[in-house]
């Protein structure tokens, strides 16, 4: 098509440049927003406390032995921690016969358990995460008692390079793009070509026009307007939540645990002494990221499988659809737990993969049905007649026709993924090292928050989930109505 450009008008006015710079600004803004969104969950597991030695305190006289393990605390990876358990001896003169420590790492399905006999020892934490340390004592009468606390192991403080890695990568990419654009402009100018060919300009103009029309329709649609409004609020919280949060959510404070709502802590503190309101703000980002990325993975897989299966047809289609049936029929929880076993330690990436890799079957079915009807249209026949390759037909004719459907469906899948994350966390597949609304609910229900008078601990994350899911659902329905030609005229 390059020859055609020579007969096009070559007036290279400022409008074209403005067009270019507008897109450049948009790109930069989007990239910076993306980096901001992504950087904090990565940085969440970092801290910089020095290692304390844990000392037990207090002794009381009781009829039964009382174990005193210590208080929950924060340490840094590689710290050697001195665990010193004591016990108060019962009043009837019995003596303590055995001390038994269990250190358990909380990481989803994989439990690592260390057992030690003896009242005191040194333990080196080589992994980040939350460790439950439990001391069980037995006295000479055979009575026993146990006490436990948590050790929050954080990664060593980051170097400057590690801390700003994502920022640096983004800067490198942007610089590269800039150099490319400058080089492109230079060669075009040298060859006397217009900076932007009119055809390209027209393409973008039409694309922009279409996009603006869809936005207009979306905002006119009551469901779409409400959805956009809700999501705008929560995406603002997701982007700036960590700066708005009054407290750090990665430092546990055993002296302030389970406090009711007050002026200092609007929604109270949880069982590690972390401010619940701050957790809620931090959780917005992680929950929404989990929802969006896993929905994109699921939609991508589903669209790929559906396109392939619907287009090739025949026995290959049969095999794919039977496999799909099998995957759809297995209870999703069991499926997710098995995928979790493959993924290994469940952190933010792990939970995204689990939800993304199990959620593609319905999308695949839907896309396949759509492809089956598109495949028989005349323009496909014509494309084949002029000698388009199979790949070109899929890429240029079939995929663009299924895309609106897939897009609307992805938005709906985001809602489902956020719900899945919450449910998985609640049922025990809790991502470690991050705060999501799901993990908050899970800890809250384990600590029976309602009985402790901490109503906000359960109500707030739940209501946030409802609002975000509602936002994505409304947006998805509205987009479906706008983009799906079958529904447009009703």
């Amino acid at each position: 098509m390059s020859r055609v450009t020579s007969i096009e008008d070559t007036h290279n006015d400022s409008k074209d440049r403005r067009h270019l710079s507008a897109r450049g600004v948009l790109l930069v803004v989007a990239s910076v927003a993306l980096v901001l969104m992504l950087s904090v969950p990565v940085g969440l597991t970092y801290g910089s406390d020095s290692a304390p030695s844990l000392r037990a305190s207090g002794a009381s006289i009781a009829a039964e032995p009382v174990a005193v393990a210590g208080l929950s605390t924060n340490v840094t990876v590689g710290d050697e921690v001195f665990l010193n358990g004591t016990a108060s001896v019962p009043s009837d003169g019995a003596t303590i016969t055995s001390y038994f420590w269990t250190i358990m790492e909380e990481s989803g399905t994989k439990l690592e358990i260390y057992n030690y006999s003896g009242s005191m020892f040194n333990f080196t934490f080589e992994d980040t995460g939350l460790f439950a340390c439990n001391l069980t004592i037995t006295d000479s009468n055979g009575l026993n008692d146990s006490d436990s606390f948590f050790i929050n192991v954080r990664a060593r403080p980051q170097t400057f390079l590690e801390k700003n890695m994502l920022l640096l990568i983004t800067a490198a990419i942007l610089t590269g793009a800039g150099i490319y654009l400058a080089f492109d402009a230079y060669t075009k100018r040298k060859a006397g070509l217009p900076m932007i060919a009119s055809s390209t300009k027209e393409k973008y103009r039409l694309g922009f026009k279409r996009w603006r029309k869809i936005m207009k329709q979306l905002l006119k649609n009551p469901m779409g307007a409400v959805g956009v409004f809700i999501l705008a609020v929560f995406i603002f919280i997701a982007a700036f939540g960590p700066w708005l949060a009054p407290y750090d959510v990665k430092t546990i404070d055993p002296f302030n645990d389970l406090q009711k709502s007050s002026k200092d802590h609007w929604m109270g503190t949880d069982n590690f002494g972390i401010d619940i309101f701050s957790e809620l703000l931090y959780g917005a980002r992680t929950s929404i990221i989990v929802g969006i990325i896993s929905a994109v993975i699921a939609s991508f897989l589903g669209a790929a499988v559906g396109l392939y299966s619907g287009y090739v047809g025949g026995w290959k289609d049969e095999v794919v659809m039977r496999l799909n049936d099998i995957v759809l029929s297995i209870p999703w929880l069991v499926l997710m737990i098995v995928v979790a076993a493959f993924v290994g330690k469940i952190d933010l990436t792990g939970i995204i993969l689990i939800i993304g890799l199990t959620g593609w079957s319905t999308t695949a079915r839907m896309v396949r049905a759509q492809v089956l009807s598109i495949r028989e249209r005349q323009y496909i026949e014509r494309a084949r007649c002029i000698g388009s390759s199979e790949l070109a037909i899929i890429r240029r004719h079939i995929f663009p026709n299924t895309f609106p459907l897939v897009f609307a469906n992805t938005i709906l899948t985001v809602a489902v993924s956020i719900l899945s994350e919450a449910t998985l966390s609640f049922l025990g597949l809790r991502p470690v090292g991050v705060v999501t609304w799901g993990t908050m609910l899970s800890f809250a229900s384990e600590a029976s928050a309602f009985q402790q008078g901490l109503h906000w601990w359960i109500l707030a994350p739940g209501l946030c989930i409802v609002a975000v899911v509602l936002g994505f659902t409304l947006l998805g329905y509205a987009l479906d109505e706008i983009l799906n030609p079958k529904l447009r005229h009703r």
Partner: protein, 338 residues
């Protein structure tokens, strides 16, 4: 559709059903074997005085030293002959008994909530579609969407709190049992199904089934609404109106029957999934059904029980889909099954 091709389609579908069930069984066998953790480690009491010979004995007893193919063979044969083995835990009760026992409670819970869900959801959806854009439609749709976006376990926790404590000192507020399936303190360990005991069972059923119904009614009413709206724009509705039929007649005779297919597919899906377990509700209300058993068998690494729960859940989904397809073909001859 001509008789012969119809029969051919049915035969092909039955063949597919068998193939899918076989696939579920094979996949399920490998899935459960890939689950993390060693069940024997869980069965041997964790103590410093650990006896290795006990572990070997247990491994022998559960065929764990055979090759994977041999185990798969045993598993397939035993599944078909309903010889489902014994649980690794739970006093080594037969798996068949365990699942049968749990299934009763799940069916009771699910049956109760499904009846409410269908009745309320379909009525709500139909009326919303009928008076589309009206006050009822807007209210019902927003309420439906609100419940639709709610994690079921969260709804369960909140309802449990609301009906087990006197909120804000309201003493007239009704109180319901927080969990369990009958008043075991009053009636002892085994149920004999006398009238007061049946009332007790029903009382314990209210909260879990209401939670389940609230969680699923939204889906039903939304599907009903959109499917009816779809049919209401068809030309034959216009024709029916032109003939002078009343609104009710149009709805009853023309819109509803044509709007049913998506509902039937949804109902089949719902029932099948719910047999697979209403995990969240059963866990929170400590209701001893299949969902509760699934979670328990996962945490206990009780593979025999888990395997057959998965098989039953999968087979239920496959059969429900098959039956709903047959029903759809029967009531709507236009549907071409590919």
């Amino acid at each position: 559709m001509a008789g012969r091709s119809f029969r051919k389609i049915i035969l092909k579908r039955i063949f597919n059903v068998f193939l899918t069930i076989l696939g579920i069984m094979v996949l399920n066998f490998f899935l459960t074997h890939m689950m993390p953790g060693d069940p024997i480690d869980n069965m041997v009491p964790r103590s410093p005085k650990f006896d290795v010979s006990l572990k070997w004995e247990l491994q022998e007893q559960f065929h764990m030293n055979d090759s994977l193919i041999e185990q798969l063979g045993w598993y397939m044969w035993n599944t078909v002959t309903l010889n489902w083995g014994t649980s690794y835990v739970a006093n080594a009760r037969p798996v068949f008994d365990i699942i049968l026992g749990d299934m009763r409670w799940t069916l009771l819970l699910v049956g109760m909530s499904t009846v409410f869900t269908l009745a309320i959801g379909m009525a709500m959806g139909a009326y919303s579609a009928y008076r589309r854009g009206g006050a009822f439609d807007v209210t019902a749709t927003s309420v439906s969407l609100f419940f639709y976006g709610m994690p079921v376990f969260w709804l369960a926790i909140v309802l449990q709190l609301m009906f087990t404590t006197h909120l804000a000192g309201w003493n007239w507020w009704p109180q319901l049992p927080p969990g369990g399936y009958y008043d075991s303190q009053k009636f002892g360990d085994s149920l004999s199904w006398t009238l007061p005991e049946i009332f007790s069972v029903l009382e314990y059923l209210i909260l879990p089934s209401a939670t389940l119904a609230l969680g699923t009614v939204a889906g039903v009413s939304l599907v009903m609404r959109s499917s009816l709206i779809d049919t209401m724009t068809e030309d034959y509705i216009l024709t029916a109106r032109a003939k002078g039929l009343t609104d009710y007649q149009v709805l009853r005779r023309h819109a509803l029957p044509n709007g049913m297919p998506p509902m039937i597919a949804l109902i089949a899906m719902d029932i099948a999934f719910i047999i697979g377990g209403a995990y969240q509700v059963e866990v929170i209300f400590n209701y001893p059904g299949i969902g509760w058993r699934t979670i328990k068998s996962i945490s206990d690494l009780d593979f025999p029980v888990l395997q057959f729960i998965v098989v039953i859940g999968g087979v239920a989904v496959v059969l429900a889909n098959f039956l709903s397809d047959l029903l759809l073909m029967y009531i709507d001859p236009r549907i071409k099954i590919t």
